[in-house]
Symmetry: C2
Subunit: 447 residues, 2 copies
């Protein structure tokens, strides 16, 4: 097999394009320029657009009137390599062991976006043209929250006009199982601060006569769920779109379930809302989670204080039918009503993002399914949602007015964001095949 594509991927992986590190600013820029050159060598036109942060690279084929336009989104920036001592081989020296590429960015997202580019290159080599009008938009700030992408989309809305977007930045449920992610949860963050006495008080001298802010935080957090694990905030789940029968049936058959979840999380046993399987709870039900809890003495042993304040950092994950602002309104009203006298309650709203769902049985969804089956040679397809949030997908919907197809190539043990990030060589080649099949299938869709 010709391994030119693979060797080019290794060159891509050698750039330490860590977007959060000001000392790597030059490497990030070098990586963008290199990627644009790769696009050109593949047969696309390419441009590097500066932003107030790191540049955006956009490649295109020559548009043909009448063909649908597909935008493929990805990112060339990577997470920091810390803790570097835990890497078995250096993070920016790609190494193949047992058919798996180890390097920072191997899965997230260089391996996946570069597979698309190499698929495009292969199609152009074979056929001299693509079956669609293509825009490849590869940004350099995904790992720091895409702070400049929305403005970029607004500025270039016309030239970025398209019929559908495809992203390979999600997961496969198991090795070799083609996976279409058709839903993501939304998020709404709120920090809860309870303030009581003006200073930490001696809990012997004053305990019993003043409200303990840490106790109140505990009571408010505990009040978010009923005794069986359901969210207790009234109207919180009103309007939640119920799971469809086909979803329950399809998810029950996936080669990933309770046993795998227990193993990967290391919990003694799974738990959650009654009436739903673990995957249903993660993918299709809202949550109210405490991400951080604090107040009073944090050291070893005992210090007998009533803390002057305490906090809980909450995030709610949301599913279709829920609006982040309304959820925060409901939570705020509920918490304020339940906060007792003798303390002050401060509620600070954080970031939020809407849930996302696209019909996997729409024309586009079916095209994505067919492409995945072809790329993975007929293996049973997994139609899943994911529990996390990818806010940029909603930004695409708002700014460009189109849906996004999420065709994941990441494996459950890919260690994205962690030491020894990895990506199987076969997933890279499958990604190339997926790109070729996807563009062909999407060319048949009437938009």
């Amino acid at each position: 097999m010709d391994d030119t594509a693979l060797r080019s991927l290794f060159d891509f992986l050698r750039f330490p394009s860590v977007s959060t590190d000001p000392a790597r600013r030059g490497s990030v820029a070098d990586c963008a320029a290199w990627l644009a050159q790769q696009m050109r060598e593949a047969g696309l036109s390419a441009e590097v657009y500066p932003t107030p942060g790191h540049p955006v690279v956009v490649g295109r084929n020559k548009p043909t009137p009448g063909l649908p336009t597909v935008l493929i989104y990805g990112h060339y920036d990577v997470q920091p390599e810390d803790p570097v001592s835990e890497w078995e081989t250096p993070p920016f020296e790609p190494t193949v062991r047992n058919g798996v590429i180890f390097a920072r960015g191997a899965t997230d997202n260089k391996g996946q976006i570069f597979a698309h580019l190499q698929g495009v290159a292969a199609t152009l080599r074979e056929h001299g043209r693509l079956p669609v009008n293509l825009i490849m938009l590869v940004e350099g700030e995904e790992e720091i929250g895409s702070p400049n992408l929305q403005a970029f989309l607004q500025e270039h809305r016309e030239s970025l006009g398209c019929d559908v977007i495809a992203v390979s930045d999600t997961g496969m449920v198991a090795p070799g199982v083609p996976t279409l992610t058709y839903g993501l949860r939304g998020i709404a963050a709120m920090e809860l601060r309870v303030k009581g006495p003006s200073v930490d008080l001696h809990s012997g001298i004053y305990g019993g006569a003043v409200r303990n802010p840490a106790t109140v935080v505990a009571q408010l957090v505990a009040s978010l769920h009923d005794s069986e694990g359901r969210i207790a905030v009234p109207e919180f789940c009103d309007g939640v779109v119920p799971l469809e029968d086909w979803e329950r049936q399809a998810w029950a058959k996936l080669p990933f379930g309770d046993a795998q979840l227990r193993e990967v999380t290391g919990v003694p046993s799974l738990a959650g809302e009654p009436g739903f399987t673990a995957l249903e709870r993660i993918w299709a039900r809202p949550t109210a989670e405490v991400n951080g809890l604090g107040g009073g003495f944090q050291g070893v042993g005992t210090k007998t204080v009533i803390p002057k304040e305490a906090f809980a950092k909450l995030t709610f994950r949301l599913v279709p039918g829920q609006d982040p602002e309304r959820i925060l309104d409901l939570a705020e009203a509920y918490l304020r009503k339940r906060c007792p006298e003798g303390v002050e309650l401060e509620l600070i709203r954080g970031h939020s993002g809407k849930p996302y769902v696209v019909d996997p049985h729409s024309a586009c969804g079916k095209a994505a399914q067919d492409a995945l089956r072809r790329a993975f040679r007929g293996r049973d397809l997994a139609l899943i949602r994911e529990g996390g949030s990818i806010p940029i997908i909603n930004t695409f919907k708002e700014e460009l007015g189109v849906d996004t197809l999420l065709l994941g190539l990441a494996l459950p043990d890919c260690r994205a964001h962690a030491p020894n990030e990895n990506f199987p060589v076969e997933n890279f080649y499958a990604g190339m095949a997926l790109n070729q099949a996807l563009l062909e299938e999407l060319a048949r869709v009437r938009f």
Copy 2:
């Protein structure tokens, strides 16, 4: 007025006898030797006993068979002076402003124990003898938890045999109001740790299918009280000795109540167990307080994790009728029963101390009351309990088999342990008079 006693107190206050500071070890020893010499000048015999830590100073008069033996306990060590920049005058250069002595140790405890010694000196000057057999035991490790005192009491049990102990290391409810503290709360400490996943999990990718340890900590802490503020652990309050009618009536008339408590704590409003006043809640009712709460993300903003573990540091304050070990057994059983599946609960027991109460209307109690009235010239006497714990009082009871009278001279704003610690000159002279009256009154008691 002859101010020799006051000038000697200033010499006492100039020793930086900070027991916790290894660099002050010499100053602590110098202070002990100086104090023993003061005892000798007052007319007592005195000895400095080395311990594995700081020395104990013991002074005595010549025993007379048939007289009761009174042990007066105090300490010559002091808290560190940090933060030194917040002192208006240097902590170890005693300064009088508006009739108040400012210095580290002025109230806690040099001013009070030295008033006793000067009272003894005055009596010996006037009468050539004391009306009782006296033992003055002044230790140098109270501020670090008296680690060597129990062994000292055991070793010297016979020569420290006595009929009653008197301590001036508690508070007065208001300036000029003679105060007898006849009860202290006990304490029992327990740390609660909840462990779930093997690492912090992404709360999007896994949220909903695993138990969140921070949520469980909140639920367990919240379960300690019912919705009205009563402790919800079954049998927790069984056997609690109810307040007597005279206590409720006496406390209601004290010149210290809700308004002063609100002011000194700075809370928006007081709160607590229904059916009791604020002072009753602090002095005569048990509590379950969270002294520290923690888990997950502690920084600014949001980090979407399900923490792998979370904790709460609890202390229970106990009142007569409650035993610390039994209370910890009850709390442990209750928490274990309520801990849901999917996490592991670890309960770590900390230090404990029994509650203490002495009958203020016993012969000794009445003698103390009479002495306080004489020293404070007939002002209405306050009979109070305190909410804190002084474990050494129980050690005295266990090792020497006698009760302790707590005759406090500290004012509410004395700033013990804080910058600008202070003690009114008049309280020093009142303390001398109190010592003289106390020994006279105790001489009349039949033990």
